[in-house]
Symmetry: C2
Subunit: 120 residues, 2 copies
DNA sequence: TCAAGTGTTATAGTTCTTATAGAACAGTTG
DNA sequence: CAACTGTTCTATAAGAACTATAACACTTGA
């Protein structure tokens, strides 16, 4: 599990950590049942506070992508396997959006609102 | 032009305003050349500060979706028309994601990172 | 010309978020 | 039991978000 962060980015660190792990799930590097790195260990590797990493993990938990229990660690759920099924469609959409000159944030916000509109 | 915001949401107000206008562009309710509501007027209607609305407008301007000039107001650009071309694909993707049990934020973050990965 | 309307800029203050730090707690594993 | 895990708590500091007020500069239409 390789996690990269960009300290100069305006995206919050906990968001970058969660995003990096999601991308790993899409690529198949993390599969259902796989254990994530212990929060303390990852925090040390990234030279970041424990709470920052835990916030990223809890964000993924709220999204249903990981299961967390003390003593056991954070484990990827079956939902994490579903991410890879969206890979080709996400790439196709993002390429089309890129051709139209849309910004990443603009498209992301559109998708977010679209899903919200259908579910709730 | 109808703008809705949810004060209890954790999404910043300026982001909600921008998102509401984007969604209106996707739906075709706002077309290239159309004028947006004056910032002061919209701020009063939403019972929000002028600067909050202006920040939303400036966000859309940075995304190339609106053109702004003092005295004239904010006008939708040709790029705004392109949004409607993405409508069906966004709906298809969001429905598939919904079937997989993905959260709106999770999918949005994935799409955002995908576009970032391709552009720069 | 000029008054009204528009976005722009400036300053200031309050509240919320982010990130850090240290400590203690409570399950799990070997 | 000892080591390891996430969880909770308190606290601090920096930055972002939101509000408030005021003035400025460009555009439009009477």
């Amino acid at each position: 599990m390789l996690v990269r962060i960009d300290p100069t980015s305006d995206v919050p660190i906990f968001d970058q950590v969660a995003g990096s792990i999601r991308a790993d799930m899409v690529a198949g590097g993390i599969r259902p049942g796989d254990k994530l790195a212990p929060a303390r260990e990852l925090a040390a590797a990234l030279r970041v506070n424990l709470h920052t990493v835990l916030r990223a993990y809890q964000l993924l938990r709220d999204e249903g992508l990981v299961d967390m229990r003390r003593g056991r660690g954070a484990v990827a759920t079956p939902a994490a396997g579903g991410l890879s099924q969206l890979h080709s469609e996400i790439v196709a959409l993002s390429q089309k959006a890129l051709a139209l000159g849309m910004s990443p944030d603009s498209l992301a916000a559109l998708v977010r609102d679209a899903v919200r509109g259908e579910s709730g």
